[in-house]
């Protein structure tokens, strides 16, 4: 058995057209040795969940600058759960007002990152999250 790489989907739900942040994070996670799938602008929660399923990712990072995070993030999480991906770590980056952060965490978001977050911190916390959730990143398949 070879190394099981951490697979991350970086997605931009909603209608804002600014993806500099998403690209910076995608590149930083690539440089941290992860396999990062970037799907581009203006994705619906359904498109994101479907991509997360086909790509069998361990992590979904949502970049939201439109202000619609309270609608979009929980919707993605619910879709992931309903298709059997409860273990996927979801983080949100963007402009999120402080009072909304607890709401997002309640909805199942693992961490919320604001502007100025050092990217090594995101990589570090993704590693912690993926190992905490699945014990160790080895294999999702059971021998049945």
């Amino acid at each position: 058995m070879r190394e099981r790489k951490i697979r991350v989907l970086i997605a931009k739900p909603g209608l804002d057209g600014h993806d500099r942040g998403a690209k910076v994070v995608a590149r930083a996670l690539r440089d941290a040795g992860m396999e990062v799938i970037y799907t581009g602008l203006r994705q619906t929660p359904e498109m994101i969940a479907e991509a997360a399923l086909q790509e069998d990712v361990d992590v979904v990072g949502l970049s939201i600058l439109s202000g619609a995070h309270l609608v979009l993030a929980p919707r993605v999480i619910n879709l992931l759960r309903s298709q059997g991906q409860e273990r996927v770590c979801v983080f949100v980056g963007g402009i999120i007002p402080n009072e909304d952060i607890p709401v997002l965490l309640d909805a199942g978001v693992r961490v919320v990152y604001g502007p100025g977050t050092p990217t090594y911190k995101i990589a570090e916390e993704i590693r912690q999250c993926t190992t905490a959730v699945s014990g160790e990143i080895t294999d999702n398949l059971k021998d049945e």
């Binding site: 190394e3 396999e35 799938i37 479907e50 069998d56």
Partner: protein, 322 residues
């Protein structure tokens, strides 16, 4: 095995997890592959290759749309895509961006797209690409498109994997000599000049046709003698030229069937995989039988020029494997 049943029954999550398992070569996924192998061998495998930035992903997206929404009374075909992008040789990470161009395919349950990093494999594909294709084939996808990394001249591993190879060029990428160099252009069953709205398209087309005329038939240069490689223009953004490309793919598929070359290619593919796996296995066994000390000792002798590399192999391999 539950996993195998799930994949055969069209469970997309099970399929996705199995593909992940194959990439890390887990025990369970290898066993599942053994059980799924008899169900594979029905799909039409289309390789799409060419330099980076020629529009492969956009073209693949248009091809999938065309297979899903065929003209006339044809039935939509279940279609899968394996899109390969390179891993960093330094960090092992990868940025897989082929899905960006495939957003029009979202929401169609008859389509499955998987991005795959090369993980250090040369030749334009990942190690797990071949087994992933077998699994998608067994899962009932009728058309499987494999998009290689942005390939240079010599990344021709796809030639062994696919039934039909589409090589994508774009205007302005080189002169007549480039077109006559060995490698990627030789493996094309269909040549596409994408971005046909750009200046220079006629010239590129001319170089490619010239290349085909010079090479064809005389010396049996590995090009298929009875198949004439068409040179087609497309614009993957507008969909222009796509009907001709689809038509050419179907024509090639018919040709493979009529000439019996489907079977020949499938057999060559299996032979290739078998030999590759034997090599790997022998290497593993040799590693288990050879101590690091023996290896270092041989290196020492080599550095002192007491023995030649050939003699070192004699000592390390020939005397061990009998």
């Amino acid at each position: 095995m539950k996993l195998v049943e799930a994949v055969l029954n069209g469970d997309r999550m099970a399929l996705a997890r199995l593909l992940t398992g194959l990439e890390s070569e887990s025990e369970a996924s290898q066993k599942a592959l053994d059980l799924l192998f008899p169900y594979a061998g029905k799909a039409h495998l289309i390789g799409v290759t060419g330099a980076s930035g020629t529009g492969k992903s956009s073209l693949v997206s248009q091809l999938v749309l065309a297979f899903r929404r065929p003209d006339k009374n044809a039935r939509p075909k279940r279609t899968a895509v394996v899109a390969v992008d390179p891993s960093s040789p330094y960090t092992g990470g990868a940025l897989l961006g082929d899905r960006i161009r495939m957003r029009d395919l979202a929401g169609d349950p008859g389509v499955f797209i998987r991005s795959m990093a090369t993980r250090g494999n040369a030749g334009g594909l990942a190690r797990a690409t071949a087994s992933s294709v077998q699994v998608l084939d067994a899962a009932g996808f009728e058309i499987i498109l494999v998009e290689t990394v942005g390939a240079g001249q010599a990344e021709v591993e796809i030639a062994r994997l696919a039934d039909t190879i589409v090589v994508v060029e774009a205007p302005g990428l080189g002169d007549e000599i480039q077109a006559n160099k060995a490698g990627i252009l030789e493996i094309a069953d269909i040549l596409v000049v994408n971005k046909a709205d750009r200046p220079g398209v006629e010239q590129t087309e001319r170089y490619l046709r010239g290349m085909l005329e010079m090479s064809s038939k005389q010396a049996g240069l590995g090009l298929d003698e009875e198949w004439t490689t068409p040179v087609l223009r497309t614009n993957a953004l507008t969909g222009e030229g796509l009907p001709d490309l689809i038509e050419a793919i179907y024509r090639h598929s018919e040709y493979l069937k009529d000439s019996g070359k489907y079977a020949t290619r499938a057999r060559a593919r299996l032979e290739d995989e078998l030999k590759g796996r034997i090599q790997e296995r022998l290497l593993e066994r040799w590693k288990m039988q050879t101590s690091e000390d023996d290896l270092q000792e041989a290196l020492e002798q080599l550095s002192r020029r007491e023995i030649s590399p050939r003699q070192a192999v004699q000592n390390l391999v020939e005397d061990k494997i009998t």
